[in-house]
């Protein structure tokens, strides 16, 4: 009897799996990118729950790429040939995504990349590769556009870490300001992890720039702002591109982070359908604030799963439906379009935010604004 019950239980548990479409997930669940990977994993888990409620049963095949492109590629091979998935959501990092994109094209597997920033990924004319988030160049252009719409800055200074990320982001920014007629008065590339930026900042101060554009990770971002205050660097606005300026830790340092302008793909106070609800449920379930990666991953999985289901598990039909479709959800309006050299790229609106009262408040675009921007940057106290 007991055996029968067990068999019944197993078969009941298996039934939805047998009927379900297989969708692959490649993510950095361990390794150095794991803290961000965790957000993506959680976002997809929430999507899985919501899909169940909607009656979309899917079987997820999880693959951990540990943040390494070669492992990411073998994961893609396995998903495409052995697991026969309809589509894949992931991977996280730019390097992994770029490597996997070419494989997706080779095996004709629709790939939806949730949160990788490198522009090149969707600029190679790959028909099966779709991207949810806005690419890296939009960080620079959104921030500079924001400053130009708020005031009349004429000059700009750059300070960035001399890594791939820092150099490429500030390079796109420099190209963009050249078009907008801003004068670059100082440029400092610093080695990550220096203890003392005071002399570089003093040098920038002596050039008296209207804007200061910074690209850094968490700890450096705090140090840079602290030392900017120390040397009395007083531009019209501090623009922070990159990871360091959009974290809770940074906002908590109110003495130095207040009024700094940064930009992000998503916040939980934006009025995109379900964004606030997603933020609340995420916090209730995982005990942490979601980052934009979580929202990107959630939206990507919702779209991929529903499209795969409607296409009856056919890869070609799924691809065509992704290309033709239009959605509106936690990431706002999503459509994979071809523009400005991009293929299947969601022309996502970046949100420009400012830390006001210790909180990130959206200031631009104005239809999503939660607070009025403070410009120019107030005198250091």
């Amino acid at each position: 009897m007991r055996k029968h019950l067990l068999a019944l239980g197993v078969s009941m548990a298996l039934t939805p799996c047998l009927m379900a479409q297989k969708v692959g997930v490649i993510n950095s669940m361990s390794g150095p990118e794991a803290p961000i990977g965790e957000n993506i994993t959680n976002g997809i888990k929430l999507a899985e729950e919501d899909l169940k409620k909607k009656g979309v049963h899917l079987q997820l095949v999880w693959e951990d790429d540990t943040g390494k492109p070669q492992i990411s590629m073998s994961a893609m091979e396995k998903l495409a040939t052995r697991d026969n998935v309809v589509g894949v959501v992931g991977p996280y990092t730019s390097a992994c995504s770029n490597a996997v994109a070419k494989l997706a094209e080779k095996y004709h597997v629709p790939l939806l990349i949730p949160a990788a920033a490198k522009e090149e990924i969707t600029m190679q004319g790959l028909r099966h590769v779709f991207r949810m988030n806005a690419p890296a160049d939009r960080y620079a252009s959104s921030l500079i556009d924001a400053a130009l719409s708020l005031g009349k800055p004429r000059s700009i200074a750059f300070i960035y870490e001399n890594t791939d990320f820092g150099t490429s982001t500030s390079k796109t920014a420099k190209d963009y300001v050249a078009k907008k007629g801003l004068q670059v008065v100082a440029e400092v590339a610093y080695p990550k992890g220096s203890a003392d930026y005071r002399s570089s900042l003093a040098q920038i101060k002596s050039k008296n720039p209207d804007l200061v554009f910074m690209v850094s990770y968490v700890a450096d971002a705090i140090l840079l702002m602290r030392q900017s205050k120390e040397v009395g660097l007083q531009p019209q606005a501090f623009l922070g591109a990159g990871a360091g300026f959009t974290t809770v830790e940074f906002a908590r340092e109110r003495a130095i982070s207040e009024n700094v302008i940064s930009c992000t793909q998503w916040t939980n106070d934006v009025n995109w359908p379900g964004a606030k609800d997603f933020g609340d449920r995420y916090k209730a379930k995982f005990g942490k604030e979601p980052t934009y990666h979580a929202a990107c991953a959630y939206a990507s999985m919702m779209i991929m799963a529903e499209t795969a289901k409607n296409a009856g598990g056919d890869r070609a039909k799924t691809r065509d439906a992704l290309k033709a479709g239009k959605w509106n959800g936690v990431m706002g309006e999503v459509q994979f379009a071809d523009y400005a050299g991009f293929t299947n790229q969601n022309n996502h609106t970046m949100l420009v935010q400012q830390i006001i009262g210790g909180e990130y408040e959206t200031i631009l675009p104005s239809q999503f604004a939660t607070k009025k921007a403070i410009y120019p940057f107030p005198k250091w106290k």
Partner: protein
């Protein structure tokens, strides 16, 4: 001019803390002829100690030096007694391997406990400054740590020059066997020296904590710096390490302004090579031929 003064002053202030790290290393080398490759990791332990004292007991980082110093002294003494003493007469590469190994154990243990996340200590004065005039400002926490460094260095000089124990340590450094013949307990002096060296590194960690950030691998940055400072000043010379620290601080800060931030390490090492070319035993070192 303001830029020049600004970078000179911050160079001197940061150099003071570098000096403290260098003095610890040079003291250990002087007495035992052991190059301590775990020096930066000892500093890192000091940083985490400060972090714990501040976050859980609310003790100000600068006040916590009073606790960090003796604790790190005991920790250093323990390392010396249990590990280093056993390899004092071993080949140099064995000593180096031992200290590297100890360093790795420290940084990985800390990583297991605290994860590899960056920690930032935020005190009420972390971003406070004092205006000196002429557009030059001085970071308050950096100034305080410089003053504490100066105080500790002065006390250390007094200890080494005027007290019996200090003279015994110097005697051991000069000639271990002769010192032993004179009735000095050299093993005890070694424990004292390693304890002091560790306490200085730990204190440096505590002093940097309010202005820098804390993570388990932070030691590597400072081990290398400590080396350059010690060799530049002359291995085993406390005065040399003080000078070397300040010199490196100023060079870093000046070259960041007048050459390029990315090149400042190159400038430091070129200077280092030049000093070694013209004074192979370092600025204050005596040649040991």
């Amino acid at each position: 001019m303001a830029v020049f003064m600004q970078s000179l002053i911050s160079g001197i202030l940061i150099g003071g803390v570098y000096a403290l790290i260098g003095i610890g290393l040079t003291l250990i080398f002087g007495v035992m002829r052991v190059i301590n490759f775990g020096h930066g990791d000892i500093l890192m332990v000091g940083m985490y100690l400060t972090y714990l004292l501040f976050t859980y007991l609310g003790i100000d980082p600068f006040v916590s030096v009073l606790i960090t110093f003796p604790l790190m002294f005991l920790f250093g003494g323990f390392l010396q007694k249990v590990f280093i003493n056993r390899v004092l007469n071993a080949a140099a590469q064995n000593q180096i391997l031992l200290t590297i190994g100890l360093g790795l154990i420290m940084s990985n243990t800390v990583m297991l406990i605290f994860t590899s996340d960056y920690k930032i200590l935020s005190t009420s004065y972390s971003s406070a400054t004092i205006q000196v005039g002429g557009g030059v400002s001085v970071s308050t926490p950096l100034l305080i740590s410089f003053l504490i460094t100066a105080g500790i260095t002065a006390a250390l000089y007094w200890f080494l020059l005027k007290t019996d124990t200090g003279q015994a340590i110097r005697a051991t450094a000069q000639d271990r066997e002769a010192a032993q013949l004179m009735g000095i307990n050299v093993k005890r002096m070694s424990i004292l020296a390693f304890g002091l060296g560790s306490a200085l590194a730990g204190t440096a960690g505590a002093l940097i904590a309010p202005t820098y950030y804390i993570f388990p691998q932070v030691g590597a940055v400072f081990t290398l710096k400590a080396f350059v400072i010690t060799v530049l000043g002359g291995m085993g010379s406390v005065v040399g390490a003080t000078l070397g620290g300040i010199l490196i601080g100023i060079t870093e800060s000046m070259s960041a302004v007048y050459i390029s931030s990315g090149w400042k390490d190159v400038v430091v090492f070129v200077l280092f090579l030049l000093v070694l070319l013209f004074r192979p035993s370092g600025l204050m070192g005596k040649s040991r031929t």
